[in-house]
Subunit: 138 residues, 2 copies
């Protein structure tokens, strides 16, 4: 074996210390700060819950829904739905409007809609890739 | 006070039990299942880490970077970067290619790029909204 022991342990790294000024220079000062990264993490943490993800996916597929509609669609109690809607509204992922005695919910903005759609697409493609890989190994 | 006590406790809900078949019917069978939701949650959990979010944001701003470039840009050790790159590669959020003695990383696909951009945009707009709200209260 000519491979060094530390290379086997860390195949993620380059074999030599190297830098690419032409890649690095245009990015200086543009990458999110640690504080901004914490805010981004907060957004992704909010989405990292199966019930919240399903509520948001339902809202991403339509314009607006009330708690009763969401409870029926997701097969959950209105209490469970409204608990999660409160978290989502506190973090400005959804907004609500009252019309008479009914309260409708909608996604807060187009970014939340894109986040949900891309998250679902990535997860589905990832699952399909895993299935193909595991069937190829048989 | 004419408001019922339970309404004050649960302002998220409609005052009356109601359903909107015209909203619900087109969505039947289209909302992600609980299993799919778990996969989506896995994707968002992967992004919900400040170092991983910053690595992915750097990669979202360019085509590819090596570990040495990323370590310099993020002000972290190569060991810390390669540890997170391994998690990201295991979950197919990034891919790598070797060119001679250098290992380059890139985002796995356009969905991961969109997820990062929308997550960053939502977090920034959210922070700006909070600042406006809190300065309006002064």
């Amino acid at each position: 074996m000519s491979v060094r022991a530390d290379m086997e342990l860390t195949p993620e790294r380059c074999d030599v210390e190297c830098l690419h000024p032409e890649h690095v220079r245009p990015l200086l000062g543009r990458i999110i700060s640690s504080d901004d990264a914490d805010a981004v993490v907060g957004t992704f943490e909010l989405l990292a819950d199966p019930t919240r993800a399903r509520i948001l996916h339902a809202l991403a597929l339509t314009r607006e829904l009330c708690v009763c509609d969401l409870a029926l669609l997701l097969g959950l109690s209105q209490s469970a739905i409204s608990h999660q809607l409160r978290s989502l509204r506190d973090r400005r992922a959804v907004r609500r409007r009252r019309s008479g005695r009914i309260v409708y919910y909608a996604l807060a903005d187009a970014h939340v809609r894109s986040l949900l759609r891309d998250g679902v697409t990535h997860a589905r493609e990832d699952a399909a890739l895993l299935r193909r890989t595991s069937s190829g190994r048989r």
